[in-house]
């Protein structure tokens, strides 16, 4: 985490710092326990193959939570995530990089809130955006 980002410091089109994730099978099991999603396609290879998958896959909600981490680390300590989410468009697998990225699409002031909207996404090693989404955060102002 670098220093605090302020509303005045950013422009539409700016990227935010990329977050690289890479899930071990251990992490997927930890996520199953923490999230309560015990669907076996995320930790039982034989089960996953019987459903037609080539391997166990990373939970979509975990990739969404990675985008939450991407945003939290960017706006902290004073900024707040107001809204974030993504669509689950493609699969990611354990032991492969999941690059989490964002780019600023809009900035505006509403009342006393300094708001920033972003496109966010996770990307697999082939360059496909497997979880495209959007977010809105509030940032502190230097004003």
């Amino acid at each position: 985490m670098a220093g605090q980002v302020y509303y005045e410091d950013i422009q539409v089109g700016d990227p935010i710092p990329v977050l690289r994730k890479n899930c071990s099978t251990l992490q997927l099991v930890a996520w199953a326990g923490a999230s309560g999603d015990f669907y076996q396609i995320h930790y039982d290879v034989e089960f996953a193959r019987r459903t037609g998958l080539s391997n166990i896959i990373v939970h979509g909600a975990l990739k969404n939570a990675f985008l939450g981490q991407l945003l939290h680390d960017w706006v902290s300590p004073e900024g707040r995530i107001e809204k974030f989410g993504c669509q689950y468009r493609g699969m990611d697998y354990p032991d492969q990089d999941i690059m989490c990225s964002g780019v600023i699409t809009r900035k505006y002031v509403e009342g006393d809130r300094h708001l920033v909207e972003l496109d966010v996404w996770t990307e697999n090693p082939s360059g496909q955006k497997t979880s495209p989404g959007t977010a809105r955060v509030s940032l502190p102002s230097r004003g």
Partner: protein, 157 residues
């Protein structure tokens, strides 16, 4: 386009709140979730760090709105999207968006209700499908304040 699978019975569920679910936001739950994601910010792990930052208690990490209270006689968790009588055998979670109204912190007890907001029928590469859009509202139990909303969709095919 094939014949619509959205029956009157399904349509009647639009906008109707489902049963309530109670979620406990515990310090352990926050830490487990944050650790599973790989968060490094102490605000998700340490009460003093969270209070120093102006939060009432350990902050719930993004996407964590507590753990549903489980009792042994309850039926197993219903897989997302399996609660509706839809004539398609397979279901995919299409996406999730969280909107925060107020910070959610350890110690909060949250009551949620989910309602179906829209049905969309499409034909795509995987054949005919029904997309079900849902909205869940999360209220703090102590004062009834809405703290968050979740928007999600499931794809039935």
């Amino acid at each position: 386009m094939t014949e619509s699978v959205v029956t009157e019975a399904l349509r009647a569920q639009l906008g109707v709140d489902g049963p309530e679910t109670v979620h406990e936001v515990t310090s352990t739950g926050c830490r487990m979730f944050a650790r599973a994601v790989g968060h490094t910010d102490l605000v998700f792990y340490d009460r003093d760090a969270a209070r120093h930052r102006g939060y009432r208690d350990i902050l719930a990490p993004p996407g964590y709105l507590g753990t549903p209270v489980y009792l042994p006689r309850m039926a197993g968790a219903v897989r997302v999207g399996k609660d509706l009588d839809v004539p398609y055998p397979r279901v995919l979670n299409g996406g999730t968006t969280y909107e925060y109204v107020e910070p959610v912190c350890a110690g909060d007890v949250i009551v949620s209700h989910t309602r179906t907001t829209e049905f969309q029928e499409r034909t795509g590469s995987i054949g005919p499908m029904l997309i079900v859009f849902r909205e869940t509202t999360y209220r703090r139990q102590t004062d009834g304040a809405v703290v968050a909303r979740m928007y999600g969709n499931t794809i039935h095919y």
